[in-house]
Amino acid sequence: MSQQSNWPLWEVFVRSSRGLSHVHAGSLHAPDHEMAVRNARDLYTRRNEGVSLWVVKSTDIISSDPDEKDSFFESPQGKDYRHATYYKASEGVKHL
């Protein structure tokens, strides 16, 4: 019954208005980039959700290894001094 296609999977990113970043909206199958953009328009922007679309082949996205999440992202731990709120002595000084 299946006579497919194996159309690649595309990830869809929508910019909701000028000045904002493109945000991942979802994915879809399409034979080429042109159809991917058209289908993304139909599927993810039926209600004024965006002013710009990106489509990226899922296979072209390289992601960090979820099993290495801890070692990969732990470096901010204990580095409170990276945040403005760490500096208490200067509290109350105007325009600082």
Partner: protein
């Protein structure tokens, strides 16, 4: 992000040290009300349950286009026609969001599609009832989409990330469906006697099937407990049904119509509406494929898939040609 790399299930029945560690990490995610994402380790039964639930949900949206598509050409005005077309288009979209979510669990779109077309997969029993009159568009919107919303809003918090996110998008679009249905019934309820009768008849036919959409009673729903423990479901079938019947019992008054339930009453002690016992034998028969229009619905889907083949082939051929001309 849609990932397509499911973990290999363990070959041994005895969990290895790594599997135990993974299970412990998974349990913590669930305990903390955090989300499970596609590339996280997850127990095989969790993956299986979700694949079944999400794909059934997707199939329901796709099959659910049919009763309404049948009425597009007979809608009473151009405005109603446009609204109905938008609704059917939404349902196609909902199906696609959900198929994408199901695919992240490691089953391909082709396989999911085959499961539907060959009848191996189930979809919501409600779509095996025919839509006989224009008023059915109202009753389906108000009762069927209403029940769907009651079911789907808590699923926005489902523990599996891609499913929850798909549901958020779907729920945003779904309330338009319910309101347009209610307005169809409201217009009919203010119309001629024949129109009022048509509206009441539609409500009569869809009341009980829509209450059954929440699934069997809690004591006959073997998977519910596990799904709630995994935080896929947040409320039991009976809780959701109770909540829904309370909403429509009030809303039906605005329509000046009635619900076909002589036992429906407000229980002052329990502070909730109590409905009659539902005919679960009928529900089981419809689920098993013996509903009024099961075979028509599936045959129509197969036919649509066959008739659409040339479009898919043309798109593939065009894409291949573009690649060739780029190379040349």
């Amino acid at each position: 992000m849609a990932e397509r790399t499911p973990q290999e299930p363990g070959l041994s029945a005895v969990p290895s040290y790594e599997e135990e560690q993974s299970q412990a990490r998974f349990d913590v995610l669930i305990d903390q009300d955090s989300r499970v994402e596609p590339r996280d380790w997850m127990p095989e039964p969790y993956r299986k349950t979700l694949t079944r639930q999400v794909s059934q949900h997707a199939h329901s949206e796709i099959i659910g286009m049919q009763p309404e598509a049948n009425w597009i050409t007979r809608a009473p005005s151009l405005k109603r026609k446009s609204i109905l077309m938008a609704k059917v288009q939404d349902e196609a979209g909902h199906g696609l969001y959900l198929y994408s979510a199901a695919e992240t669990l490691g089953t391909s779109r082709d396989e999911l599609n085959d499961q539907l077309l060959t009848g191996r997969a189930k979809y919501s029993s409600i779509f095996n009832y025919p839509a006989r009159s224009w008023a059915d568009m109202g009753a389906i919107g108000w009762l069927v989409d209403g029940a769907a919303i009651a079911n789907q809003v808590p699923l926005c918090r489902a523990s599996y990330g891609p499913y929850g996110r798909a549901m958020v998008r779907i729920c945003k679009e779904e309330s338009f469906h319910q309101r347009q249905g209610f307005e169809i019934l409201l217009a009919l309820s203010r119309g001629t006697d024949a129109q009022k009768k048509m509206a009441q008849d539609a409500i009569n036919r869809f009341y009980e099937p829509s209450l059954m959409m929440f699934g069997p009673p809690d004591d006959q729903s073997p998977n519910s407990q596990q799904s709630m423990a995994w935080k896929i479901k947040r409320f039991s079938n009976d809780e959701l049904r109770q909540r829904f019947v309370g909403m429509i019992a009030e809303q039906v008054k605005v329509l000046g119509m009635s619900l076909p339930d002589p036992e429906l009453h407000y229980d002052e002690d329990k502070k909730q509406w109590i409905h009659k016992d539902l005919n679960w034998d009928e529900f089981m028969a419809v689920i098993k494929g013996n509903g009024p229009v099961n075979s028509q619905r599936l045959e129509r889907r197969r036919e649509a898939h066959r008739e659409g083949a040339w479009v898919r082939e043309a798109a593939s051929a065009y894409a291949a040609k573009q690649v060739q001309s780029e190379v040349a």
